[in-house]
């Protein structure tokens, strides 16, 4: 039994963070002990989970718990002291910062891309068309050069950071039709769009994979390089906030995310580093 566990641990260790064996940014966690509670933006989750895994492998006494909930939840929970670090896919508002005395760190940049099912033939839209689609004035794929079938709109809940950026920068604050379906996370959006040949929605570029097809906006396809060089404009920072300046384990985790190794995780998960 022991051997099996060891095998699993070894295989897992091969999968990530070979830095465990060399001197690294993780050294700061040596001799530390405790739990870091993280909650908030769902776009952050893959990176946070990977970082948690690497840290736990280096020092099993440091446990990072990662919960979702959305950007609004992240900011509120850290503000009320329910978690140590609150993730948000948008910058906290002036009001939130002053109310909770938040200090935020931006550790990655992420694009928000329009996605459709791989079965859909429409692969490109102009900003104007996108606005009309989401407002509901264009309601059939035929009008966009696709099949003669109604468009199924998918939207996120109003506390979503992904939604905030999408509405502001892709729709230019245009309205979203009330008939749109609402899903609760980037993952749920991907499942919904991947399964609906007539659906249109938007996800964090880091989440785009073979189950959904990105749609070019004004001729620019949302990909990591196009977000990186700025040609794709619908992008936002990924932030982590603490109440007051980060101290103790929280500070170590944020430093780790900003270290070259942390930034490597960021890039592996499909985001753009800030260093």
């Amino acid at each position: 039994m022991k051997r099996i566990v060891f095998c699993f641990a070894f295989i897992a260790a091969l999968g990530c963070c070979n830095a465990v064996f060399a001197g690294s940014a993780l050294d700061a966690f040596k001799g530390q002990e405790g739990v870091i509670k993280v909650a908030g933006g769902t776009a952050h989750i893959p990176v946070m989970k990977e970082a948690a895994k690497c840290i736990a492998r280096f020092n099993p006494k440091v446990i990072v718990t990662v919960a979702g909930g959305g950007s609004g939840v992240g900011i509120r929970q850290v503000g009320e002291g329910l978690v140590d670090i609150g993730d948000a896919g948008r910058s906290a508002t002036e009001e939130e910062i002053s109310r909770y005395n938040l200090v935020q760190v931006k550790w990655a940049v992420d694009g928000v891309g329009v996605v459709v099912s791989p079965k859909n033939s429409v692969k490109s839209l102009s900003t104007e068309q996108l606005q009309q689609v989401f407002a509901g004035t264009i309601s059939n794929w035929k009008e966009l050069g696709g099949e003669d079938h109604a468009i199924d709109l998918y939207d996120r809940d109003s506390a979503s950071g992904t939604r905030a950026v999408f509405v502001k920068k892709a729709l230019k604050k245009g309205a979203v039709n009330g008939g749109a379906n609402v899903v609760v996370s980037n993952g749920a959006m991907k499942t919904a769009i991947g399964g609906d040949p007539y659906g249109i929605g938007y996800v964090s570029v880091g989440h785009i994979d073979s189950t959904v097809t990105p749609v070019a906006l004004d001729g620019v396809v949302p990909t990591i390089p196009s977000v990186q060089d700025g040609s794709y404009p619908v992008a936002r920072g990924l932030y982590s906030s603490t109440r007051g300046k980060a101290t103790g384990l929280s500070a170590l985790l944020l430093n780790y995310l900003l270290s070259p190794e942390g930034q490597k995780i960021v890039e592996e998960k499909g985001f753009i580093g800030v260093k």
């Binding site: 809940d157 109003s158 009330g178 379906n181 609402v182």
Partner: protein, 280 residues
Amino acid sequence: MTRLIRAAAVVTGICTIAVFFMMLILGWPLFSHGHLFALLVGGWNPGSDQFGILPMMVGSTAIAGGALLVGTPLSLGVAFVTAVFARGRMRRVLLSCVRLMSGVPTVVYGFVALIYLVPFIRSQFHSGSGFSILTASLVLGLLISPTMIVLFVNALDGVDPRARRAAAALGATPVQRLLYLQLSEALPGLLSGVVMGLGRAMGDTFISLMLAGNSINMPDGVLESARTLTAHIALVMAVDFHSLEFQSIYLCGFVLYLFTFMLVLILRVVDHRFRRGRVQ
């Protein structure tokens, strides 16, 4: 020991009442500002400061009602078979299946339906995305069935065995006994099963959140996407704690609470009437 049990009962009772007052106090800004009416009959559009929950009330009622339409006949059928026709091993197997069904986590039903039922509904009806009142009702109907079946079976089994034997002695077949004796005798029990099912359907969050589509528009057909009160609470929970948008969820909680309260009340009244009619 008696004291301990009594204390547990009192604490549970106090908690239920405390929740009511907590919602009343936390939602007070809404009630006292006088726009309660607008909140109850208006639409939801936070962008233009409209926080009405009418579409969600309609959504909740439609989905829970649909679930009853699906679940009641299904449960009645299973209960008839279990209580009347199945004997010995068959009955045990049926009942343990029902118990197993009630043990399956909601999210499993939701996930399976998301993968199989949603695309099926979308391809069968050429309108809508498959996320609809119909989809949620079908799954929710299945979900509330075990609760209803167990209560139905208990009610049918609870009919006085002497009456049953008397009916049999008069030459009644099992079907006749079921139709003319057990059904009418077990009516309050059957009704309480339906009300419990309805309560469960109203209170469920996950199925509707995953399958009903959560659109904020007033639904005008069973193939339309709709949002329930419970899903609405789950979706709005994440917004700024101090906004009016957030406070409106206390109203949702309040409405749900009142609804459950009324269901229990109706149940009690009907039960009481029935018993009194029996004595006379």
